[in-house]
Symmetry: C2
Subunit: 346 residues, 2 copies
């Protein structure tokens, strides 16, 4: 069914080799032959067989991204944008993106191993890095090209892109405390996620810098979903001495927190401030609009992918890893008057 080099060879009266090289643009093929071959190839809608080429070249021009989901569902406005960034850059560079879904634990490493040894992929995009990340340990050790979105604990030297979460939270903390909020509660998440730790650290630093005792901060554990933000906040409000500010480690939980406040008729902002982190599209359209830290997630997807492609090609990386500057987006959930200037581009 599909047109092959062999058929082009027959049609042009040339050998398979010549046809192959004509199409590859080698300059030891006469212009005349090249023209002929190209014409016939176009005519017949020739497409190189990807599998055969990859088998021969030992390069699949495919990168793998394995979504580390817990539970069957995975609904995160964050990742689809990241994915688009990765996908677009991959396409621009002539790479394909192989997507898998695999929860951490059991079969996870096995899947990484298999993707590599089956020759299916040339490298990995690693997302949602963990404190001690077995994926990174293994990829590093095995010398498989990969780029991570996020860091790990020991600070091993591997290529990654990340946003400076500590600094981001310092911005949040400074801002909130500057507005007079002192009783702060932090909505956290499973502790194997390092980025949460960074963010918590940043908040602590801000408190200390303002003469507050970080140890007095209440910390509640969620799982990054709105639901858990809602529940954590509910328990917070039902207890004694509610906070004057709720700092969530991501936007989704912040949204959940706002939901719980609304339900109790507490006005978000004036009564209790709420802040997020990520600046998902939803943040701007929340009620009230959510003060948060912007992560250029689409761009990060592109950067991660580009680094990976470079790594695979063996091109020297200008900088192995990158820590991006966070940007505070003041809206009104923090109780501050909305600033016009910081509204743009949200």
């Amino acid at each position: 069914m599909a047109v092959t080099l062999k058929q082009l060879a027959e049609r042009t009266g040339k050998s398979i080799t010549t046809v192959s090289r004509a199409l590859a643009g080698y300059d030891d093929v006469s212009e005349e032959t090249k023209g002929l071959v190209r014409r016939v190839a176009d005519e017949l809608h020739y497409t190189p067989n990807f599998l055969a080429r990859s088998l021969q070249k030992r390069r699949s021009r495919t990168i793998s991204l394995i979504l580390p989901t817990v539970g069957p569902r995975f609904s995160d406005p964050f990742f689809s944008e990241f994915l688009t960034g990765v996908g677009n850059m991959a396409a621009e560079r002539g790479y394909d993106l192989l997507l898998s879904v695999q929860a951490p634990g059991e079969g996870e490493m096995e899947l990484y191993r298999r993707k590599v040894s089956s020759g299916q992929v040339d490298g990995f995009v690693v997302v949602r890095t963990r404190r001690r990340d077995p994926r990174i340990a293994w990829l590093h050790k095995s010398q498989v090209p990969f780029v991570a979105f996020g860091r790990t604990e020991n600070g091993a030297d591997f290529p990654f892109v990340d946003v400076d979460g500590a600094k981001g939270m310092r911005l949040i903390g400074d801002h909130l405390i500057g507005l007079g909020r002192r009783r702060i509660a932090f909505l956290s998440s499973p502790s194997e996620l390092l980025f949460v730790e960074h963010r918590l650290d940043g908040l602590r630093q801000a408190m200390a810098a303002h003469g507050l005792d970080p140890d007095e901060m209440r910390i509640l554990q969620g799982d990054l979903t709105q639901k858990s933000g809602y529940e954590a906040t509910a328990s917070l409000l039902d207890g004694a001495n509610p906070p004057s500010a709720i700092v969530a480690c991501n936007d989704l939980m912040a949204l959940g927190a706002m939901s719980a406040l609304h339900e109790r008729g507490i006005s978000v902002g004036p009564d209790i401030a709420v802040t997020g982190f990520d600046d998902i599209p939803m943040a701007e359209h929340a009620h009230p609009p959510l003060t948060t830290i912007h992560q250029p997630i689409y761009e990060i997807g592109r950067m991660v992918c580009e680094k990976l492609v470079r790594l695979i090609a063996g091109t020297e990386l200008a900088s192995r890893s990158e820590i991006l500057e966070p940007r505070l987006i003041v809206r009104s959930s923090c109780g501050a008057p909305r600033k016009q200037s910081e509204q743009a581009g949200g």
Copy 2:
């Protein structure tokens, strides 16, 4: 680097053929040999070379999903859940998922063609079907296995899964009109998306059934994003004779509409009802919680994928296409008292 059959053959003293067949479980290989081969294969962590196998079998066990994005960004809480459904089912069936990003137009069909003729994929999941969908026309004509999420205009006979949007909107319309809302505005989207048309039809039917004139309904065009829902609503409110209910064709736009109402101090529900469609996770946590139609999007992803795998394998499909029953989720954005019973499972 990677272990091959050849190496297993050397280690076991058998031929490549025998090793291959031992691993494939053929019963013309002695139990003894099978045992030996398997043991050695395990020991050496043998993984079949995927490319070689696919080349030979002319089956890649890979399915393609091409995201038809407009613009560089693609942030839709809806699709990441769908994707997870597809991905999980694919994994269960031993398939891989190749993800591409390609805007409709220009290169779109070329990409589909190339994926097929390069032997990279065995079939397609088609999302966001359009009125006259060139993708479906071509896939159909070329006899390439595919399953769509959504229908097309002419009602060609191809495998798809969809939710009955007309019926869903009839439920919404009945409910709203039952609550006394009569001046209804509809937030629409680019007209090449057929599902929007279905939904609009359903709403019209409901109006007609209640003795209202569908032609009096105001229809505003957005692009499915919150932002556009916000803008459409703003223009609606700035005009004369604002509606008593805003029916958005998806949740995201409904959320944007609510945002615009809030900004003007109009209370969502009591003053102006707002409804959505999709039941994204955000819907439950909006303020007020959004009345909408539930689509089991993760399940749909699984169904679509399973159908596709069946199609590829040549297994007869129990039913080529499926139209799922919509489910009305009454929350409070429509102005109705929240019903306890319909809250579960949201």
